[in-house]
Amino acid sequence: MTVVTRRDPVTAASEGTSSTRLLKLRLCRFHVEKEKEPFGVTGGKRVRPPQTHRTMADSDLDFQTGESGASATFPMQCSALRKNGHVVLKGRPCKIVEMSTSKTGKHGHAKVNMVGIDIFTNKKYEDMCPSTHNMDVPAIKRLDYQLVNINESYMSLMGDNGEVREDLRVPESDIGKEIEAKFEAGEDFLVTVLCAMGEECAVATKVLPIK
């Protein structure tokens, strides 16, 4: 059985009263998407709105996709971070591609130097902090959906539980072209959606396993 929660994104935005978390998320998406376009081209001059971490206070908003009210980030001591792991740098969710320690003077305490790449924009960030400090680590999710339809650049994506969402645009990237081409060709395939700190983006495709 397939439950379709289909809403036109524009009308959803104008409704503004829906209390579902999904809608909130979608509003955020929509908002971000509009700004994201120039961002992709100019390479990140835009000032992002302050990140509002979703906290437990939001959990009264029933989360339709079955997630708990887990926060978007959690703290971790610098020393426990690892290469290939994730961290929030300058307010952005990043994958750590380089990590090293240094100290000031022979008897100084360790500091951690990190280079991260924004998992959505590919922009590089660097940061250094005392290794005793806590850093925010973004909760990262990768979910696979089956692509059902593309409507005016919005994907209809069906999750494992049969629910369909239509709030994600086809990204303007190679993978976006890939998605459109595969869809045109009538192929059955999965789309992997990467989700962190309230932002979502399709990052990979995968041909459906033959059952």
């Binding site: 708990s68 001591q77 320690t101 008897h107 360790a110 998992i119 696979d144 992997t192 990979a204």
Partner: protein, 1170 residues
């Protein structure tokens, strides 16, 4: 041949030269490339002698002259056999005269022309067509002319000859084999080299007599001095060295002087040595020349071998050298530029002269020498410290100091050959000065510049910078040895200094604490005093560690004899009760305990009392040094409890851990069987079944646990801490005590529960901690306890994991952060468990891990879109294969192969249909591939290293059919893996050197080990494998190229075995025949590769005889010149003469390889002509 069109050629060349010499902005890249091409093809043109002569005589452009000289040199070698001997001789005369007549030639043009002359002489000496004698006659005349310009020219000729004959790295430039170079060199070193030396000595003699040297004269002087240095640094080739050995031999740096007997007269003459001392005295203020003259003396100091007729000759030579050296040093104030040279002389004579010769020196002379060495060492040490303060780029004194300390080590290691105790006083002086340089004022001089002002700058130190204990390990080893030689002085000195510093540190921390209570701001604390104390303690602990124990890699460390003797000697004066008390109270000040002066300074405990240790310990002096370190450790721990961690030095924490680990390896539970005599106090304090040992193990455990919670943020300190823990449990005897401690069990429980603070540790530290906990589990315990232990350590891991993955909705919750963390922690722990593998625990660990491996494959599915998890899962397999495969018997290996195969299948399935666009996609894939190749190589290593029951392994290998139940072989897994890796490998990825090496190593292994599997590969895979080989052979580094060539022989042999024609492999080998043929015959190649390429060629020729003949025919028919044709045809006939018809027979192959070498030497260069 007339110079047809010579003016045009010259115009073209001069135009091209102008382009090449123009500033980069003036010409385009294309123009530049074109100009380069003009010169390259000019140099390749056939018989360019006439035109070159013409150019040399007419052109005014230096660069064109240079190129003409190069063209002549290359062409002479290339066309040697076609040239008349007389025309070669006239060419040589022309070149030499040319240079003589043009004193104003640019230096680089002149040198190039002389190089051409030298090459002609060398090539000529091969077929004896040129006699060197006449050249030396000419040069001798030039020298005696007295004209500085002409003398310089003479020097240049000799230098050119010397470098052409000396080095075999020039091989490729004349395309001759190592043997030819070797025999040229041997011939040269017997006569011509000595002639050059004699000529040089005459010149030096002459100059050293003159009073005032003009600038021009001293320039000539310097050139001859350099030449003398080159002669004395000649790497004398011993007779009868195999070809392989020659290549190795030529690569050695720091050549020592080992002339043949024929040099006796020339070098044993004391006037030679005196001359060099005189020369040095004369020019020592000129730093460039001084380096050469000192280097000459250093070479003379390294002289050894058949040149000495007997021992007495050697003794008198050495005595003369030492006398000369002492009178040279004593009369002067040493210049900065002399330090390294002088230390080289000393280091060479100490290293090269046998102990018996050194001790045969007159005792006065020997004593003066040792005293001089002592003073010099201390003085260089102080200057080195000064250099560090000034942060000089060029640390000449440091280098000199290192050399001298190394020489001390050499001397002291052979102490028994020398008069007893003769090194004690020098050792004390050197040791004291080292300590002094490393302590802060007022005791020491650290960071003090010349005017006594101390500098204190904090520099940024990154993790790549080595810790002092490694950076200065050579110095510290020497100082440690000297400290042992003078143990009676050095150990008490270290103890009292360390005790003093710890007391001061304690006081300073207390004062700071009070200050903080008032001001409560850490920023206001002056760290200068603390940092000075930390730095003092840092060096004192390092030196103590090096004095008390060695760090023998892989051997059982033993207590140094000197320390043992020292301990025994002082055991009688030890007051047992007091010693115990000190040892037991690391928190107390030693001097506050009455009678502490009578305790053994190597041990001091105080907590011992709290642990109920009775007063049956005798404490030794060496134990008191340990107790000083324990006190430092205790002060540190107390400061952490008082929340002063901020103020502590992680470096000091590391030092303490490092010392305790080094100490524990050697002293804890001493095995009395290893020693002839044992110090009673040492064995009663730390021997097996002693309460002292139990107490210290308990203390160390507490310390480790405290460190892991306090210092989780300091990765290096945490790492040193867990390494100490591993040391405590890796030996069964120590582990037996460890597992009796309650704190050990608490640690295990705490880690298993994944609660703070242990989970804050970095992943590598957590892995090592896991390793230690597993190792501890194999200690001796009764079966109930053991069961309980595993229930605490491993079962929670398994239970938590199973509970998690067996949840019905695991797939849904798998992306939740807490779930992902649990999974990552489990995978990390598995890596740690695999690391704990030893031969005696592999059975139980393997079955434990195997259960997980199958679950891990399930995880591969669930986390197929989560690259960091996938990567970690593969790593678990890599670790298990790496640590365990060599111990596994057949059935168990099979299980592992199967698991690996499934892993690879799932990986491949999940990746085939995936397309990613995120930034790190390429990096992730690179890491996966590297790990997979590592996994495959680990699995293959079973073929070389196998500790499992060999009978069982062999029984099944010889059977053609698979053993019953045998489902998967290593070959299947590896080939399947290659199947995954190959399509993903791109030429871009091969640009990562590590990946490229690993990849080619893997495919060469496969071709060598499973050639029979290659023909069965799927077509695509087969093609890409062959393409990879071709790519590796033709366009990678020579190392890779060699690997690929080595892979070809087994493939060709496989084809021959099968006897099937027209298989893809058969066709591919035919293609390789052409490639290898071209490579060997037509292209300039690295001579090192001749053997690998030759072996490949031979097997390929055996397989494709008809095609080979065709290749030869085609090559011959393209030759228009009848002489060349004949010569080539003969060469090819000779090449295969010893192996007709070619068969895969070792004897024939060897014959072929031998004639191939001649072939390459004869016609190799010939075919390169355009």
């Amino acid at each position: 041949m007339a110079a047809v069109g010579a003016p045009e050629v010259i115009t073209q060349l001069e135009g091209a030269a102008k382009v090449l010499m123009a500033p980069p902005s003036m010409v385009s890249t294309e123009q530049r490339q074109h100009a380069e091409h003009v010169f390259l093809s000019f140099r390749k043109s056939k018989s360019p002698f006439a035109i070159c002569k013409h150019i040399l005589e007419t052109s005014k452009v230096d660069y064109v002259l240079f190129q003409a000289a190069t063209a002549v040199m290359e062409a002479v070698v290339r066309e040697w056999i076609l040239l008349e001997k007389t025309s070669i001789e006239s060419l040589r005369t022309f070149l030499l005269t040319y240079v003589l007549q043009r004193p104003n030639l640019q230096k680089y043009v002149r040198e190039q022309i002389l190089l051409a002359v030298a090459v002609i002489v060398k090539r000529g000496s091969l077929d004896k067509s040129i006699n060197c004698k006449s050249i030396f006659l000419e040069v001798g005349q030039l020298i005696s002319s007295g004209n500085p310009t002409v003398q310089t020219l003479a020097c240049s000729i000799l230098t050119a000859l010397l470098s052409e004959f000396s080095s075999s790295s020039k091989t490729s430039s004349i395309g001759l084999s190592m043997e030819f170079h070797g025999s040229c060199k041997r011939l040269f070193q017997e006569e011509s080299l000595r002639e050059i030396f004699m000529l040089t000595m005459e010149v030096l003699q002459e100059f050293s007599r003159r009073e005032n040297l003009s600038a021009q004269m001293s320039c000539v002087f310097q050139r001859y001095l350099t030449l003398a240095n080159q002669v004395l640094s000649w790497n004398f080739l011993p007779p009868n060295l195999g070809r392989h050995y020659i290549a190795m031999f030529e690569a050695t740096q720091n050549v020592t002087l080992k002339p043949s007997e024929s040099w006796r007269e020339a070098l044993l003459d004391t006037r030679v040595m005196d001359l060099f001392f005189t020369v040095h005295r004369k020019i020592r203020e000129d730093s460039d020349m001084a380096q050469d003259s000192l280097q000459c003396l250093a070479q003379l100091a390294s002289m050894h071998g058949p040149i000495f007729p007997d021992e007495s000759a050697q003794v008198s030579y050495l005595a003369h050298l030492v006398e000369g050296l002492l009178s040279m040093i004593n009369g002067i104030e040493i210049e900065d530029s002399e330090a390294v040279g002088i230390s080289n002389i000393i280091s060479n004579l100490i290293t090269m002269f046998p102990r018996s010769i050194l001790t045969a020196l007159p005792s006065d002379l020997f004593t003066s020498f040792i005293n001089c060495l002592t003073l010099l060492t201390c003085s260089f040490g102080r200057s080195a410290a000064l250099e560090e303060v000034l942060d000089k780029d060029d640390m000449v004194y440091m280098e000199a100091y290192d050399k001298l300390l190394e020489s001390w080590l050499t001397l002291v290691q052979d102490e028994e050959h020398f008069p007893r105790g003769c090194f004690v006083q020098p050792a004390i002086q050197v040791f004291n000065s080292y300590i002094q340089c490393h302590l802060a004022a007022p005791d020491g001089t650290r960071n003090l510049s010349v005017n006594g002002i101390s500098s204190h700058e904090e520099e940024e130190i990154n993790e790549l910078q080595e810790d002092d204990r490694e950076l200065f390990s050579d110095q510290l080893s020497s100082i440690g040895m000297l400290g042992r030689v003078a143990a009676a002085h050095c150990i008490p000195l270290l103890t009292s200094l360390l005790e003093d510093r710890v007391t001061r540190l304690h006081g300073q921390l207390q004062r700071t604490q009070q200050h903080l209570m008032a001001a409560s701001d850490l920023g206001t604390v002056d760290r200068k005093v603390l940092d000075d104390l930390y730095e003092d303690i840092h060096w004192l602990i390092l030196v103590s560690g090096y004095v008390l124990a060695d760090d023998p890699q892989g051997e059982t460390p033993v207590i140094p004899t000197e320390v043992m003797e020292f301990s025994i000697k002082h055991s009688t004066e030890v007051d047992i009760n007091t010693t115990l008390q000190i040892l037991g109270s690391p928190g107390e000040k030693a001097s506050s305990i009455p009678g502490c002066n009578r305790t053994d300074s190597v041990i001091r405990f105080s907590k011992a009392l709290a642990f109920g240790i009775q007063s049956f310990y005798k404490l030794r002096k060496c134990v008191r040094l340990l107790s000083a370190v324990l006190r430092t450790s205790e002060v540190e721990s107390r400061a952490t409890r008082a929340s002063l961690t901020e103020l502590l030095s992680p470096q000091m924490g590391k030092d303490i851990m490092w010392f305790l680990r080094r100490w524990a390896k050697t002293y804890l539970l001493v095995d009395e069987k290893l020693y002839e005599q044992i110090s009673i106090p040492l064995s009663t304090a730390f021997g097996a079944d002693t309460e002292g040992a139990q107490w210290i193990v308990g203390y160390l455990l507490e310390k480790v646990i405290n460190n892991l919670s306090v210092w989780s943020s300091e990765p290096e300190l945490a790492n040193d801490t867990v390494e100490l823990l591993v040391t405590l449990v890796e030996k069964r005897e120590r582990a037996n005590i460890v597992v009796q401690c309650e704190s050990w069990w608490n640690l295990a429980k705490q880690f298993a529960s994944r609660s703070p603070p242990l989970h804050l540790l970095s992943s590598s530290v957590q892995r090592t901690l896991m390793k230690a906990l597993v190792l501890g589990g194999f200690a001796h315990m009764d079966s109930d306890t053991k069961q309980q232990y595993w229930a605490e350590v491993l079962h929670p891991l398994q239970q938590r994991f199973l509970n998690l993955i067996n949840q019905e909705n695991f797939a849904q919750i798998s992306q939740e952060e807490s779930v992902k963390q649990e999974i990552v922690a489990t995978l990390e722990a598995l890596c740690g468990i695999a690391e704990a593998t030893q031969i005696d625990n592999v059975a139980s660990l393997f079955s434990f891990l195997m259960d997980f491996l199958s679950s891990c494959i399930g995880l591969m599915e669930v986390y197929s879109n989560t690259p960091e998890t996938i990567n970690l899962i593969i790593e678990v397999f890599v670790e298990v294969a790496h640590k365990q495969i060599c111990y596994l018997g057949e059935t168990k290996s099979m299980k592992l192969y199967e698991a690996c195969l499934t892993l690879l299948q799932v990986y491949s399935k999940n990746n085939q249909s995936r397309k990613r666009s995120d930034v790190t996609a390429e990096e992730d894939q690179y890491q996966d591939l590297l790990l997979i190749m590592e996994l495959l190589t680990n699995l293959l290593s079973k073929e070389f290293i196998d500790f499992s029951d060999t009978d069982e392994v062999f029984r099944n290998q010889d059977q053609g059919t698979p053993a019953s139940g045998r489902t998967v072989s290593a070959a299947d897994v590896v080939l399947y893996g290659v199947n995954i890796v190959l399509p993903l490998m791109s030429q871009d990825l091969l640009k990562f050197p590590s990946l490229c090496n690993q990849y080619y190593k893997l495919i060469t292994f496969i071709c060598e080990i499973f050639p029979e599997k290659i023909p069965q590969l799927p077509e695509e895979l087969f093609k890409s494998l062959m393409f990879s080989l071709e790519l590796g052979m033709t366009s990678m580094s020579s190392e890779i190229s060699q690997l690929c060539l080595e892979a070809l022989s087994p493939l060709a042999e496989q084809c021959a075995k099968n006897q099937e024609k027209d298989t893809p492999l058969f066709i591919a080998t035919r293609h390789f025949l052409k490639l290898v043929f071209d490579m060997l015959v037509l292209q300039k190649h690295n001579t090192e590769m001749t053997v690998a390429a030759g072996e490949a060629l031979y097997t390929l020729v055996c397989l494709h005889q008809a095609e080979y003949s065709e290749l030869v025919e085609t090559l011959l028919s393209s030759q228009r010149d009848a002489v060349i044709y004949q010569r080539l045809a003969d060469a090819f006939n000779q090449l295969t003469a010893g192996s007709t018809p070619p068969t895969m027979d070792r004897k024939q192959k060897v014959a072929f390889l031998k004639s191939l070498e001649e072939f390459v030497a004869n016609v190799g260069g010939l075919l390169c002509v355009k």
